[in-house]
Amino acid sequence: MKNTSTLGLFLAVIITLSVVSCNTSDPVFDAPVPGKMQLLFDNVAGSADLKLNASTYQNAAGESFTVTKFNYFISNLRLRKEDGSEYVVPQNSSYFLIEEEKPASQTITLNNVPAGKYTGLTFLIGVDSLRSMADVSQRTGALDPGTNNGMYWDWNSGYIFMKLEGISAVAPAAQNNTFFYHIGGFGRSTVKINNLRTVTLSFRNDVVNVQMDATPALRITTDALKIFNGPTQLSIAQHPSVMFDTFSTNVANNYVQMFSYDRVQAN
């Protein structure tokens, strides 16, 4: 008798709780009290801030240029904890398109990060093959192949991972002195190139503490000059347009080095 009524009460409480929680955004059975982390991507060109259609920069080949477009995909984020374990950002919320022309896109917020102390970050530049080939209904927002600001090759199904465009006197006049670097290719079937690159950053001596009431904001510097100045020196005069071709892997091998951890911002 006693048992039954306890259970009855319990049942009633559960029902009430569940119905109430159903209306809020948090599902009932999620891990307890997660926090958030923000990543701020600060695009620069060497020691200067990157400004579209304005400042002139110089690459290691001594070529001057301005930048008119700079976009890249960041995906498959994983956060490393102090104890060596990893928090893998859920697949469905792990794709971000950073666009220099859209300041809001440069801050990404990771929700539901388990409270804890973090020491590093790993991510992919680009969009993995599984998601690239996924049903179109699973590719919305930045992944929408029809509306993501030209970051998709519709003639050769796949995302453009990194797009840098600009103007330089050394680029061909026939091309209106513009240069284009559209780098992609996830290595599907027998395709020879795979330009997916993984970046791992350590927060140096910083231990980033995520708590329910503390959202640390990490500043990551993206140096566009590294696209030119890397293992293969990229010259605009010699390569005014690199898109889907074998040389593009050299550009990917350069830009894999363009990210560095700067600091935790006070908030």
Binding site: N3, T4, L7, F10, L11, I14, I15, S18, V19, C22, P27, V28, F29, M133, D135, V136, S137, R139, T140, D144, P145, G146, T147, Y152, D154, W155, N156, S157, R188, S189, T190, V191, K192, I193, F244, D245, T246
Partner: protein, 370 residues
Amino acid sequence: MNTLRTISTKRIWLTVSVFLFGLAVACQSSKEPDPVVPPDPGPPGGGIEYKPTPVTLRKPANFPDVIYNISQNPLTVEGVALGKSLFYDAQLSRDSTVSCGFCHQQFAGFGHSDHALSHGIGGKFGSRNVPGLQNLAWEREFFWDGGVTSLDELPLTPIQNPVEMDLKFSEALSRVQKSPKYPAMFKSAFDSDTVTTARFLKAISQFLLTLVSADSRYDKYVRKEAGGDLTTDELAGLALFQQKCSTCHATDLFTDRSYRNNGLPVGAINDQGRYVITLNEADRLKFKVPSLRNVERTFPYMHDGRFTTLEQVVDHYRSGVKDSPTLDPALKVNGQPGIALTDIEKRQVIAFLKTLTDNTFINNRDFSAN
């Protein structure tokens, strides 16, 4: 007594967990609705009830297994009708002159009759011949070079191509959203009048998937149906075809979906075919083996439309095959490039190819612009 209580407690726990599970599911479906799988209609919420009528994809008995994942885009009468409307809508081109159906003409097996190269907006020419469209659910990759990996994504290319329809895709979506007729059609097809990329693309796929061509005289012959009589010449042609052509033009789809070099000399456009997509030297000058269904109607032939008649095509195989590092081995038996066929055999093979014309398909009102 004790046992009884245990059981009833267990049962209560079971009830609780079943209930919670049900609730979890219910909570999920109350989130953002999946744009594709039609959600359960549920109790009528004041508006019109969402009840699309399912359509079964026709799978002819003489065809291999379907490749398109139909569970991701179940066909409905409403979805197909929407897709057809979009297919024939010139609004999807910048100056509203070119629809999909402009280049893909039903009477030409959904190829562009008498156009060697694709001919789009403002009279601009593309660099490839318009292939006929049929049996797309059995296709793995699209275009002559297989560059497009999903039928659902295909419309992005012609709509945005500057020499085809030349319209930004986002602009196409917004035109459709603003048009008086479409929102209601999206509502009945997908239970939402919001035009999204996925819904737009999947509606066109639905229509394209219904374009099944399987009622030619040859099909009826194979399935032993009425009207399936082949003449002596046609039968001889079929035997020759099976012997000399079906390595590549395989199965009753008449393609093995592979990429091959059939020995065409490099044309003025210098199209490198599959190489452009894979960047593998071994893929230079390879093109997707085209189906030969309705081939009598889909002239001109080959990726650049260089041949206007089937006679020219067969002559190419007889005497025009050019040797090169990537020439398909099937076209170089005994070290000699080409396929040996006498004049009589040539006539017989062509007679057979014409048995692949599917008049039921070509005249099907369901596929026509109303």
